[in-house]
């Protein structure tokens, strides 16, 4: 073998150096020759990794972001995070690329004579403040509003609520979580009196059977679904997919059961019927911990303006409930739902088996439902009747769609009736909030104003004149969209939009503010399992972009609320969080201090005595239980959860001769909501470049439609043309079609219906009647 002399010389030199180092190290312990040790090692690919919760869905995966030369260049899963244990999905892995689209908004834009003119941030904020003052003077305080998001960080939502509810004195505060989680909230409140799941993700590692209620988890909550698959590999758990459409989840499940839209109400009741009939009721649990109630029926669908509904709960006996269920024998329900009596009994048997731990998982299926609150109640009924709740593995688990729908909208309470702690209708709650906010209690209006759909209707009518939209894209997501788009364009309306890219919503704006997103600022998100997660600023925001929090603080100061918005620019996130924590003090909802959040991959509330509470309402895990029993549903005054009598009622608009198909809408794994971020990530856009309409192969054959053909969809609201997708990602049942809503060039929401659950006011995006033909 030939070796050149220089190399040999080098080698000898190196050896000499190395022996010198070795000698030095043995003589002076602790001495390090860093330079020498790192020489020849790959410095270039060694990134600084910083932890954050993922920007996208409500699962709240821990990610590590790699930063190089001031730019985020890589992402990997955080192995230390108990949420995802190091795994992400394709959106998460490429999430940092969402910050670097070429058309990123970097300067405030003000509409002047129909065109957008660049301006400075100070001028834009001055204009917004003066416009707000003017609107309040001319039309009253209830003419200004803010429409936020479950993608708001906790400080964003908190300052918004403080400014509008506490200082200005209007309850015109809403967020897009009304469109996704409102039914889950009212479901929790009616059944348990307290919002958010009692269990946590760890339930997945304990349960034997998983029932997915209208939830395409393989695409929408892929990281948690992989945890299910992992458990199946290790422990042979059963996965039952109960849905209206065949998806990847159905293919992966042990059993796929299809039902007709809206009939999940009947099937859930049939399961309860079977449980009672077969004596699978956990009698001691029900006697000790449950009450039975019924509410009003035939509530309507909220299709008309100024629709109002208040439920009148009434206590009933177990016998009355039993009689009510006579209408829901599996055989009777088979006729309504298309689910065979055998399959209903199959599901009921798993719920009823005392040796099986069952976890129910659901998200938009039961939530975006014209009887969403009822559907949530009914799933809790099953778990309460069998006593399978609040213990590891026995868990009705309501999944969340957005990274901070729980953290910001539900916990901070950025909904018209909510306060950070409690509701505006309650005098004590108002006094409590006013004290922390340092405002006169009279400022907080005791009457809720508009929920989201009604808020946009009010904008149309002219009751609302000013709207500030942050971190959301309602001009893609509102149902019956055309009406609300025209409303926003009307004369005498002033719309401010804070966003990071041009979207159909910035198209209707009078002022566009460039925002700093995610790790370009500091903030916290709260995920589905009550986990609050902190992220630091890792990169600089582009141009003049600033965080939504600071935009609101600056405007508040300009409106004369310097006293309440005393925060320092450098430390405002810490100050706001410390102030916010005061609202939740106590064993039932205490939030972990910022220091703890920084040191851990998030922390679950209630955080009591330095420990998170994994299972609420169970005295073994939850220090807030005080009745001396195993379980204590302390959200209700008598400590008992409620089993609700909720019947089956049809949807607002069902297929008929003229519009014979069901129209269902939803998401795909590649895109996040309206695609304003994910479509700017090349990998994701290339994987899923445009919207489509999924048809059942039999329907497609009859109509002579192939994949790629143009298909015209017509509803009572209008028509839209989409390319067909037959037998690809998903297969809808016969006489049903499915359209994803991410494509701003094919706005499916132009033709959806704005019916909503009368209790939660959450629209039903999953059901309306449509006609399809080859275009």
């Amino acid at each position: 073998m030939f070796t050149s002399t220089t190399n040999r010389r080098d080698f000898i030199k190196k050896m000499a150096k190395l022996s010198a180092i070795t000698a030095a190290v043995s003589m002076f312990p602790g001495i390090l020759f860093a330079e020498e040790q790192e020489r020849g090692l790959p410095k270039d690919a060694n990134l600084d990794w910083k932890k954050a919760p993922c920007r996208f869905c409500g699962v709240g995966c821990g990610v590590l972001v790699g930063v190089e030369k001031g730019k985020a260049v890589a992402v990997k899963g955080d192995p230390k995070s108990t949420v995802n244990k190091g795994l992400c999905c394709v959106k998460g892995y490429h999430s940092v690329m969402a910050m670097y689209g070429n058309d990123r908004l970097t300067k405030p834009l003000v509409k002047k004579n129909g065109t957008y003119v660049e301006t400075t941030m100070d001028e834009a904020l001055d204009l917004i403040a003066s416009k707000m003052k003017e609107t309040i003077n001319d039309h009253g305080k209830d003419a200004v509003s803010i429409y936020g998001s479950g993608q708001w960080t906790i400080p964003d939502g908190y300052v918004a609520s403080k400014l509008f509810k506490g200082c200005i004195g209007t309850n015109n505060v809403e967020a897009n979580a009304r469109l996704c989680m409102a039914s889950a909230v009212t479901g929790f409140l009616t059944s348990f009196g307290l919002d958010e799941p009692m269990g946590c993700y760890e339930d997945i590692d304990h349960a034997d059977v998983f029932v997915l209620w209208g939830n395409n988890m393989a695409e929408m909550h892929p990281v948690l679904f992989s945890r299910l698959l992992d458990q199946r590999l290790k422990r042979g758990v059963k996965i039952i997919d109960f849905a209206t459409r065949t998806t990847r989840t159905s293919m992966a499940a042990d059993k796929s059961i299809l039902f007709l839209p809206q009939t999940d109400l009947a099937v859930a009741n049939a399961i309860c019927y079977e449980i009672i009939k077969n004596n699978w009721v956990n009698k001691s649990f029900v006697e000790k911990h449950c009450n039975f109630s019924k509410g009003l029926t035939n509530m309507g669908y909220g299709l008309e303006d100024k629709y109002k509904f208040t439920d009148k709960p009434e206590k009933i006996s177990f016998e009355a409930y039993k009689t009510f269920l006579e209408d829901y024998t599996p055989e009777k329900v088979e006729k309504i739902s298309g689910v065979s009596a055998k399959d209903i009994k199959y599901m009921a048997a798993y719920y009823g088996d005392p040796n099986k731990k069952v976890m129910s998982l659901w998200c938009m299926g039961p939530n975006q439902h014209s009887r969403g609150t009822w559907m949530n109640n009914l799933i809790y009924n099953i778990h309460l009747l069998t006593g399978k709740i609040s213990t590891p593995g026995n868990s009705p688990f309501s999944l969340t769609g957005q990274p901070s729908a729980c953290g910001t909208v539900r916990e901070v309470g950025t909904l018209t009736h909510k306060l950070p702690h409690g509701v505006v209708m309650n005098k004590k709650h108002r006094e409590f909030a006013a004290k922390i906010w340092d405002v006169p209690v009279e400022n907080i209006d005791p009457k809720p104003t508009y929920h989201t759909v009604e808020m946009f209707r009010a904008l149309d009518r002219g009751d609302i004149r000013f709207m500030w939209i942050q971190v959301t894209n309602p001009m893609v997501t509102m149902p019956k969209l055309k009406r609300y788009r025209d409303a926003a364009k009307k004369e005498g309306r002033f719309i401010v939009v804070s966003d990071i890219y041009p979207t159909p919503t910035t198209d209707i704006a009078d002022v566009i503010l460039p925002s700093a997103m995610w790790i370009e600022r500091e903030g916290m998100y709260g995920n589905s399992e009550r986990r609050t997660q902190y992220f630091e600023q890792m990169v600089e925001p582009p141009g003049e972009a600033i965080s939504d929090t600071w935009q609101l603080v600056e405007v508040a100061k300009r409106l004369g609320y310097e006293k309440q918005f005393y925060y320092n620019k450098e430390t405002h996130i810490e100050e706001i969080y410390a102030e916010y924590r005061k609202h939740h003090e106590g064993k039932k909802h205490n939030m972990a201090p910022l220091k703890v959040l920084k040191e851990n991959s998030g922390m679950q509330w209630p955080y009591v005595d330095g420990k998170p509470t994994k299972w609420r309402f169970n005295s073994k895990y939850d220090p807030a239980c005080s009745n001396g029993e195993t379980f204590h549903f302390y959200g209700k005054p008598d400590g008992k959860a409620i089993i609700w009598q909720r019947p089956y009622e049809p949807a607002a608009e069902e297929p008929d001769a003229e519009y014979p198909y069901w129209l269902n809408t939803g998401r795909v794994v590649e895109h996040w909501h309206t695609g304003s971020m994910t479509r700017r990530i090349p990998v994701l856009h290339k994987a899923m470049p445009h919207g489509y309409v999924e048809l059942n192969p039999d329907d497609a054959k009859r109509l002579q439609i192939q994949t790629g053909d143009r298909v015209k969809l017509t509803t009572r609201r209008g028509e839209i043309i989409l390319p067909a997708s037959v037998n690809q990602r998903g297969v809808p049942a016969p006489m049903q079609v499915f359209v994803p809503f991410f494509d701003e060039n094919m706005l499916i929401n132009d033709i959806t219906l704005d019916s909503f659950c009368p209790i939660s006011k959450e629209p039903d995006y999953k059901k309306c009647a449509v006609n399809i033909e080859k275009a």
Binding site: K14, D44, G77, V683
Partner: protein, 230 residues
């Protein structure tokens, strides 16, 4: 006659009884046994060591395999398929079944590799075949046209062949191990990129010589031995 009938009847009865007993025990045997949850202990694994030996049974085959230079992959194509260094690769070919989990489709080729006539290439072997929801992270590319242009910078990638501290010393592992613990799936066999193909796949205890080198290693501060005499 009577006697014979009696014997036949007896045997028929016995046969029926046998069928019944056999049937009963067969179906009893099929009944699922209830396994209490707390009996399931977590497998004792060192997360980062998991999988080093996963494909070691193929090691000798890899060592003896001739190199197909016409169809070997290179690091260039390897990186081109990723949005950044460490990102999950996208799927460079068409996917027929968009609905199935990976165990029925993807793993047929990517579970164990092999030459595919259709693509004139060796299928890369996945280092994590136990995760079957493949398209949770790996997506096909249906178009080359972007929705909007991007300024995302890919960051620098480590170059191959420069990762040894000393001349001739075993190179360190420059990448993250998470979900890539199974060394031989990428560093051996015909689908391994030529620059990172190992010359000695038969030495299966890879991490005996090749150690991790990245900043993720936990910082425990300056460790100082305490001296009892002080």
């Amino acid at each position: 006659m009577k006697k014979r009938l009696g014997i036949i009847a007896l045997f028929v009865l016995l046969f029926i009884a046998f069928i019944w007993v056999w049937n009963y025990s067969y179906f009893q045997g099929k009944e699922e046994a209830y396994i209490p949850i707390n009996a399931n202990k977590e497998l004792p694994v060192v997360a980062s060591e998991m999988g080093v030996f996963e494909r070691s049974k193929y090691a000798l085959d890899y060592a003896n395999m001739p190199i197909d230079e016409a169809h070997q992959r290179s690091l260039k194509t390897y990186y081109e398929n990723r949005a950044f260094y460490g990102a999950p690769p996208s799927i460079p070919h068409e996917v027929e079944d968009d609905r199935n989990m990976g165990e029925n489709s993807c793993l047929k080729c990517h579970g164990n590799g092999g030459f595919t006539e259709k693509f004139k290439a060796y299928a890369p072997v996945t280092p994590h075949p136990e995760m079957v929801n493949c398209r949770q992270c790996h997506v096909p590319q249906k178009t080359q046209i972007l929705f909007k242009e991007t300024q995302f910078m890919r960051g620098t990638v480590p170059s191959a062949g420069t990762n040894n501290a000393l001349e001739g010393s075993p190179p360190v592992i420059p990448h993250q191990l998470q979900m890539r613990e199974n060394c031989l799936s990428c560093h051996a066999g015909p689908s391994a990129p030529k620059e990172i193909r190992v010359t000695h796949p038969e030495r299966i205890n890879c991490r005996q010589c090749h150690v991790l080198n990245n900043k993720v290693i936990e910082d425990i501060g300056i460790f100082k031995r305490s001296n009892a005499n002080e």
